[in-house]
């Protein structure tokens, strides 16, 4: 008390002396968590110049009239503070983070406070992306945003994910429009983006994304990279982590002994000789132990950011390298990034924003998630066979022609891709006055993509499909060029160089003015011109010397006279011309209305339907601003509604035209003669898909701590663009032939999204953030093309039945096959069943007679039924971030519930290995009601049925991280602003009943989702990292 009084007295004294004198004011600006805040703008009220805080939150400001000045503290994302100086020379301030509804969000060609937003948008901050410690932003985004479902296409390094905003809405390309600083990135291209460069991600989910017109139907993801701050000292930041990865799962496969016993039984049951005289073979070869390995991962990022009076800059360098848990360096992803963000006021009215992103990424891959992939071979490899024979050669497993030794396969696989990408933006903003600005910008995205595949002469054993040599001495096949003229083919190398150049010019006016205090008007009007050109040149050369990867280049080929070598190329151009208009009006910041119209012209469509108009209307009501609204614990309440139309143009270029790009090759005079054939028939009426979406949403803040957002949406997509299987009689099923692209079919998605964010920052030493989101989506095909009952999708097994379908009344790509009801135990049971199941014997699967006609029909679909779908009923994301003193603990849990997976990685051949569950096969009456008998004779047990469908629900701890921050005071002595170390783990555990490698199993094709061919699983990774700022 006395102390306080003393200080007050001191202040009064100082103010008295300091009257009218210039003096320095210093202090720290900190967050509620007691962490120094850099980049806070500190200025004297009424004076435009000012300073920004350094990395520790420290500032020093010259004030001319300390007694009467008021200081302003501002930082994006925080509440502004005004403090009367009252003559003080030191002033420490705590800034309070803005509640979500005050934060700025990007809405396309402009920004808005989230309070004013009438659409359904979500925002993720860069730190939540960076924290996930993954190579790609899509992997990091999984579970962070309600309504955005992300499934992994491959767990291999550099593998993509598919991003589905509000469900699957089309048969074809469901990818959202991804814009990085305004530049279009496709899903593959995300490999080039360093997650550490991201400042924020905004997701436009509803019809207000319609400002992007014909490309907006699948939603829009807007990524912004980091920028510097005005008037701040250079801040250097170094972040790095190192880790080790291992597989998150190995399968339970038969041991050699179990294998021998079961195969003997199988052959005996089939009336054939038993292959194993001795079944006492022990464990045998655990192929998975040799295929999976621990693999390193590391990431380094170095950045410098800062600014002067009228310039801001942020530059960064990044390096990332990840080996695969299958194949190690043969399945690798590495990336170098360089970034420059530069903004300057060229004059008082003209501002320049310049962004330059360079990346070099390289990926090597193994065959994965398909028949013949490394893991498919691993699962099916015989456990009784060693990896290598006593003579050192790889063992062959000749009994099954399409199973090859996976270790040999990995060794012989050389497949590289590199991409050099230069992405940038030059944006000029001319501010006529405070209300009107005019933006003109050019975006470019130049990508050079190189691929190389080396195919050495290899021998996997007699009759193997993958052999390129003619025997195990690796002799080359010869080719007869002309009678008597034979040359060796030798090892081959394929190279491809492609260039893609995207150019965008955009020009738009933004207007914002408040009239008579209560009437706020905002308007945006502009045009956008987009062009993408791509070209590619590829070649294959034979006769690579020494069968060695050291000479794997076309230039090294020894093919005599260049015979056999061949080349190819392709080119395309696509263009988009658009104009757009957005008008917004709000009254007293309580009632908000917005309208959008966009007109797009696309070169993807023919003259008959080249232009489309996409309107959207939306409104919001800030209920909590009403005087009658007196609910105490609700601080903020808003209701929103939007309805609008957007399009999807993601089809191949020139799909409306019939092209002679088919293959018409025949042999005349013993020589290959090139002819022509129609590739894809024409469809001049082809047009974009149209999505009409209604969104009703509400945002609340309770007790100043809990933000809650909910959305209900109905999203109907019409005139789906796709290339369904069409009738043979139009004659498009030749080599190089494709079915035409047509508009047919409708899909509906309805769903509810809930997002909760809880912030507790009561005490100085303790804070908690919890985020939880839930999404449920009902997906339904509401129309299929005329005259078609369904569109067949993915096949089951090798040459087997079609297992997935696109059919009215069901989810896209639902599973369709026979339903099983246990195992026939006895002949008597079969006889008494009242159902004729052709060929059924005791030990066979019981198929359910769906149509009740007393016969299981194997010739048509009358007894097949719905067996599930790959679309989850619910997805959940939960993240937490707890700080106590210098420690912080964070984690992210993702769960998808209610989807099914087709077990399709078992090669249904007598000698192929099988999963451990076959130990519990049917061996006689009463032995089991689960798994059928084994036999080499023909049964129907391998038809696609519910026996092969498993529950794919899972919950996964994607990331957990424990960090320690060293004390700022101590660091200050060594001129370090902050230093944090952490331990982190990705995919530490996964709860699931699914038997396969990984239940988080995506597919870029809508109809092949949920079909598991031996999926490359995501790694379980343990990492340690540092974050250093000075």
């Amino acid at each position: 008390m006395i102390k306080k009084l003393f200080i007050q007295l001191l202040f009064i004294g100082i103010s008295g002396f300091a009257f009218s004198q210039e003096m320095s004011v210093t202090g720290f600006v900190k967050s509620e968590q007691n962490v120094g805040l850099p980049f806070v703008k500190v200025q004297v009220k009424g004076v435009t110049t000012g300073v920004t805080t350094d990395g520790t939150g420290f500032y020093r400001l010259k004030v001319s009239d300390a007694a009467n000045s008021t200081l302003l503290f501002s930082l994006t994302g925080y509440e502004k503070q005004e403090v009367k100086l009252n003559g003080r020379s030191t002033l420490d301030i705590i800034l309070v983070e803005l509640v979500n509804n005050q934060q700025e969000v990007i809405v396309g060609y402009g920004t808005a406070k989230s309070k004013e937003v009438t659409g359904a948008t979500s925002k993720v901050n860069g730190e939540n992306i960076e924290k996930m410690s993954v190579a790609r932003v899509d992997q990091a985004l999984q579970g962070q945003v309600a309504g955005v479902n992300i499934a992994t296409n491959s767990g291999s390094p550099g593998g993509s994910s598919n991003i589905r905003i509000r469900g699957l809405s089309t048969f074809g390309d469901n990818d959202p429009l991804i814009l990085v600083d305004g530049v279009v990135y496709d899903s593959e291209g995300l490999n080039a983006l360093n997650p550490s460069d991201i400042k924020s991600i905004n997701v436009l989910k509803d019809a207000t994304a319609g400002i992007y017109g014909v490309r907006a139907a699948n939603g829009v993801i807007i990524v912004e990279t980091k920028k510097g701050n005005i008037n701040s000292k250079p801040q250097v930041e170094y972040n790095a982590y190192w880790g080790q990865q291992q597989t998150s799962r190995k399968l339970d496969l038969l041991s050699a002994q179990e294998y021998a016993v079961i195969k003997n039984e199988m052959f005996a049951m089939g009336g054939q000789d038993m292959p194993f005289n001795n079944t006492n073979l022990g464990i045998g070869t655990p192929w998975q132990d040799s295929v999976f390995q621990t693999a390193p991962i590391q990431s380094h990022n170095l950045s410098i950011s800062g600014g002067t009076m009228n310039t801001r800059y942020s530059i960064a360098l990044g390096y990332f390298n990840q080996d695969g848990i299958v194949g190690g360096p043969k399945s690798n992803f590495s990336r170098y990034n360089a970034r420059l963000n530069f903004s300057t006021d060229m004059s008082s009215k003209l501002k320049l924003n310049s962004v330059l992103l360079y990346s070099n990424d390289a990926r090597s891959t193994l065959p994965e998630n398909g028949i013949g992939s490394v893991l498919y071979n691993t699962i099916n490899a015989f456990p009784n066979v060693p990896i290598r024979k006593p003579n050192g050669q790889f063992s062959y497993m000749e009994e099954v022609s399409d199973i090859i030794n996976p270790i040999a396969q990995m060794q012989n696989q050389y497949n590289w891709n590199t991409a050099n990408k230069i992405v940038g933006k030059e944006e000029f903003i001319y501010e006529f006055n405070d209300h009107l600005s005019f933006t003109n910008r050019v975006n470019y995205n130049v990508a050079f993509v190189d691929g190389k595949v080396f195919s050495p002469l290899v021998w996997y054993g007699d009759g193997k499909y993958a052999n390129t040599a003619i025997n195990d001495d690796l002799e080359s096949p010869t080719v007869e060029l002309a009678p008597g003229v034979e040359i060796n083919r030798g090892a081959a190398v394929y190279e491809e160089r492609s260039t893609f150049v995207d150019l965008t010019y955009e020009s738009f006016l933004n207007y914002e003015k408040t009239f008579a205090e209560n009437h706020k008007i905002k308007g945006t009007a502009g045009v956008s011109i987009f062009q993408r050109e791509g070209s590619s040149l590829n070649g294959t050369a034979f006769g690579i010397p020494n069968n060695s990867v050291a000479y794997a280049d076309i230039s090294a080929n020894t093919a005599q006279g260049g015979y056999l070598n061949n080349v190819g190329s392709w080119e395309f151009t696509e263009r988009l011309v658009s104009s757009f208009l957005r008008a917004e009006y709000s009254f007293k910041e309580k009632y908000m209305f917005s309208g959008i119209v966009r007109r797009d012209g696309s070169s993807k469509f023919g003259a008959n339907s080249r232009y489309g108009i996409f309107p959207t209307a939306s409104a919001g009501w800030l209920l909590s601003e009403e005087s009658f609204f007196k609910v105490k614990f609700i601080d903020y309440a808003k209701l929103r509604i939007s309805y609008g139309v957007s399009g999807n143009d993601q089809i191949p270029n020139f799909a409306y035209r019939g092209l002679l790009n088919g293959e018409g090759v025949y042999v005349f005079d013993d020589l290959i003669t090139q002819g022509v054939a129609i590739g894809r028939p024409s469809n001049p009426d082809l047009k974009w898909e149209t999505t009409r979406q209604l969104n009703i949403g509400a945002d609340f803040t309770f007790w100043k701590k809990l933000d809650f957002t909910t959305n209900y949406f109905i999203k109907n997509t019409f005139d789906l663009l796709f290339q369904p299987d069409v009738t043979a009689i139009i004659g498009s099923y030749g080599p190089g032939g494709y079915p035409p692209v047509i508009n047919a079919g409708n899909v509906s998605n309805k769903g509810v999204e809930l997002e909760f964010a809880y912030h507790l920052r009561k005490k100085k030493d303790f804070s908690t953030d919890l985020n939880f989101n839930v999404t449920t989506i009902t997906n339904k095909v509401t129309k299929v093309p005329d005259g078609v009952d369904y569109i067949p999708g993915a096949g089951f097994s090798v040459g087997g039945d079609i297992a997935t379908r696109f059919q009215e009344g069901y989810e896209i790509g639902y599973f369709f096959g026979y339903e099983t009801a246990g195992i026939y135990q006895t002949q008597a049971e079969i006889d008494a069943s009242g159902v004729v199941q052709d060929g059924a014997k005791p030990g066979d699967l019981i198929f359910v007679d769906q149509n009740g006609d007393g016969v299981i029909n194997f010739n048509n679909d009358s007894d097949k039924t719905y067996l599930g779908s790959a679309i989850p009923d619910f997805t959940f994301g939960f993240s937490f971030n707890v700080r106590y003193k210098a420690f912080d603990l964070s984690g992210m849990l993702y769960s998808a519930i209610g989807q099914e997976i087709i077990r399709n990685y078992e090669r249904q051949q007598p000698y192929a290995n099988q999963l451990g569950y076959m130990v519990d096969r049917w061996t006689g009456e009463g032995s089991t009601n689960e798994n059928p008998r084994v036999t080499t004779e023909s049964t129907r047990n391998n038809l696609f049925s519910s026996y092969y469908v498993e529950d794919g629900s899972f919950a996964r701890l994607k990331n957990v991280q424990l960090g320690y921050s060293f004390s700022a005071a101590k660091l200050k002595k060594i001129k370090v602003d902050s230093f944090r170390i952490y331990l982190s783990a990705n995919n530490l555990f996964t709860l699931t009943r699914y038997q396969g490698f990984d239940p988080d199993l995506g597919s870029s094709g809508a109809l092949s989702a949920g079909v598991d061919y031996g999926f490359y699983p995501q790694a379980k990774t343990f990492m340690g990292g540092v974050q250093l700022k000075f």
Binding site: S347, P477, S507, E571, T573, R657, N859, S938
Partner: protein, 489 residues
């Protein structure tokens, strides 16, 4: 700076006020360096290249080499297991239905072939040039070939002539009666035979003799014996063809396109290939597939043990008939005669084993294509040999009561094979001779059906059902479900 700001604003304003015509022009992008479907057929070369494309689909005929044998009493499906090409196993067991990959491919690929021929014929009046008539004649021959395949397998099929159809139109098209399809085939072959050269300008092209021989076959399939005899006699009288001295060497690559060749589907091993698109291959996929499984030894190459001749076929031959060994490889007997039999190995596929392999079309060392060489055999498919012409003529003459002509023709064929002549005192004698001469060549099933003997010789064959294969169910669905399925399916 002023000037820069002004020009920037000006540029922006110009862009903002883009005119509609400028937009239209900017958005009309032609596919670079690509010829378009609608502006083709501007030069003779265009016609020639489209014709090559129409020939391409002939290579789909390897399926007939399988199905024509496997469906009959000549062969079993074989393969790695019964799940290896299950469609062929179903056909083998006469349990095939509306879902069958191989039958769907037959349906699709032949329609693609005739569509490519129709594309030429649709544009036949575009330009005139010397040689156009021959190209048109070849296109008609090809269309007839593809329709004949379809009608043999499926009976009534939609008949599309001189045009391409779109998705909408496809929904309106019904199956045309078999007789109408045959009438079109006859017309096309007659037209073709009047123009085609007697001697092909290039090995592989259709000739007058080929058109007439197929016309004769088409008549025979309809029991039009008078027309068949006359047409086939014309081929014989032309003197263009003669039987080669050695039956044994007939099927080697070295002996392709000889005096006995009336029409071959041409294959080459000069282009590699992989599974997944068998129709994209330029090699004969059937030959590698029919090779000996995991064979390690002289003379032959390793294959997939498809389409294995039966003991019954082997036994049907007289032991003095050299055609038995030329047609059927008895693998164990062959190995026993080799210098070091113990070092020769092969595997038995779980899809069935008879001890026999198709010795006409089998992977032999020295006839191996590029990888994957199971798929790229250079061995041509001899779809019309002169001996077939002679035996068809014999059959037609016999049916017309001209037994001595028939006997002379049969014994001409037997003579070349080095077996003594026989009296032709019943039609069955000719039928049997066809089997001895033509087994392994994909004809047997269709011969048994057309001569009404199928139920006698094929286990599980149901009269009134199995004469035709079912239309693939999905094809019925994709055209609106308006077609009725073939009887019994």
């Amino acid at each position: 700076m002023r000037l820069f700001q002004k020009s920037l604003i000006l540029t922006g304003l110009i862009i903002l006020s883009l005119s509609q015509t400028a937009c239209d022009k900017f958005l009309s992008v032609d596919p670079p360096y690509t010829q378009d479907v609608e502006n083709f057929f501007q030069t003779p070369e265009d016609f020639d290249r489209a014709l090559t494309g129409a020939y391409d689909m002939l290579q789909a005929s390897f399926l007939t080499m399988w199905i024509g044998e496997i469906a009959s009493d000549n062969a079993i499906a074989g393969g790695e297991s019964v799940n290896d090409s299950p469609g062929l196993h179903q056909i083998d067991n006469m349990t095939h239905g509306g879902v069958n990959v191989e039958l769907r491919n037959v349906f699709r690929w032949n329609y693609t072939g005739l569509t490519r021929a129709n594309y030429i014929l649709e544009n036949k009046d575009n330009i005139d040039f010397p040689g156009k008539a021959h190209i048109i004649a070849e296109a008609k021959f090809l269309r007839a070939y593809y329709y004949f395949e379809l009608v043999k397998y499926f009976g009534d099929v939609p008949l599309i002539i001189d045009k391409r159809i779109g998705i909408e139109e496809a929904l309106q098209i019904a199956r045309s009666p078999k007789a109408e399809v045959y009438a079109q085939i006859e017309k096309d072959l007659k037209d073709a035979s009047e123009v085609l050269n007697p001697v092909a300008s290039q090995k592989g092209r259709a000739t007058k003799g080929a058109a007439l021989s197929f016309l004769g076959k088409v008549y025979l399939y309809q029991n039009k014996f008078t027309e068949a005899a006359a047409t086939l006699d014309e081929v014989i009288a032309s003197g263009s063809y003669s039987l080669t001295p050695s039956y044994v060497d007939l099927f080697s690559v070295a002996n392709e396109n000889n005096s006995e060749t009336v029409f071959d589907v041409q294959y080459t091993g000069l282009e590699g290939g992989s599974y997944g698109c068998l129709i994209c291959l330029e090699g004969n996929a059937a030959v590698g597939f029919q090779g000996i499984r995991q064979y390690n030894g002289p003379v032959y190459g390793d294959g997939n043990s498809y389409n294995l001749p039966t003991q019954e076929l082997y036994d049907a031959f007289s032991s003095i008939d050299g055609r038995r060994a030329a047609t059927i490889l008895d693998i164990d007997a062959f190995i026993a005669t080799q210098p070091n039999p113990a070092s020769i190995t092969y595997a038995v596929g779980a899809g069935g084993h008879t001890g026999f392999y198709n010795n006409k079309y089998i992977k032999r060392q020295g006839e191996i294509g590029l990888p994957d060489n199971d798929l790229t055999s250079p061995v041509n498919y001899r779809v019309m040999r002169y001996s077939d012409v002679l035996l068809m003529a014999a059959e037609a003459h016999y049916q017309l009561g001209q037994t001595s002509t028939a006997q002379q023709l049969v014994n001409q064929v037997r003579g070349r094979a080095g077996v003594p002549g026989i009296p032709v005192n019943s039609i069955e004698v000719i039928y049997k001779e066809r089997r001895f001469e033509l087994s392994g060549e994909g004809l047997r099933f269709f011969d048994l059906v057309r001569t009404g003997q199928a139920a006698t010789y094929i286990d599980g064959f149901v009269t009134g059902k199995h004469e035709l294969f079912p239309i693939p169910q999905v094809e019925i669905d994709l055209t609106g479900g308006n077609w009725s399925q073939n009887p019994g399916y």
